[in-house]
Symmetry: C2
DNA sequence: CTCATTTGCTACATATTTAGTAGCAAAACT
DNA sequence: AGTTTTGCTACTAAATATGTAGCAAATGAG
């Protein structure tokens, strides 16, 4: 079965053939560096090259693909200052933000084993 | 470069060479069906076969891999009733839960374009 | 201007991940 | 004792990500 490349609500995605919104964003955000990009853009606009550096030298192929996907999804956009979070992207970031704290706790407990 | 298969805090993962916890769980949860499994287990314990059905006939290979990863990560465990969320898994679910509502709104706005 | 740099990105070859199908051994019914 | 269900492995094909090279357009310096 061939899967859509752009995760779109209502269309089958990696993780949901019916395209349930929650699964669609998890497909989108789960792709490599997608979260890293959003996390970073929360600090302000960034150019392609700068994002690349920040993302530990992600390959330009992947970065470009990710940027296009996130743009189509309405989470980021390109301005004169570079790529930026849209309002929707910012809201998403706020929702996901608490995960950072939880993840640190989780990391400790995992490493204890 | 070869990447660890099991996303582990402190070790390089898809999305972070330094293994920052937040990136590690996004790697983990971003893999196909990982979220679907957690989402479903929130309704109670489930057997392998039942999970498979729920997950739109995910291939057993992938399901098994995911289950192992989530188990090592301490998010799920196997009991007499089948696979279940651990307490940590449940907490994670609670954090992620609000995303569901946001995603529905987001889906609407995306489809309007 | 004009030459050198930087930026955003494409091409391409390789490696890793996922999907999809078949089927088997052990446990649970009947 | 025989059938069904369950948890899972093996294997092949398709999709995704990585890593390197490099080019055309925009920017900056002299």
């Amino acid at each position: 079965m061939s899967m859509n490349s752009q995760p779109t609500p209502g269309k089958p995605v990696r993780g949901s053939k019916t395209g349930q919104p929650i699964m669609v964003i998890f497909d989108l955000l789960g792709r490599s560096w997608a979260m890293g990009i959003i996390w970073h853009l929360n600090n302000g606009p960034s150019t392609f090259r700068r994002l690349q550096e920040y993302c530990e030298n992600i390959s330009p192929t992947t970065l470009n693909k990710r940027l296009k996907e996130l743009t189509i999804a309405g989470l980021i956009e390109r301005t004169v200052d570079g790529y930026t979070l849209t309002e929707q992207g910012l809201e998403l970031f706020k929702l996901i933000h608490p995960l950072g704290k939880w993840a640190k706790q989780w990391a400790k407990s995992v490493n204890q084993k």
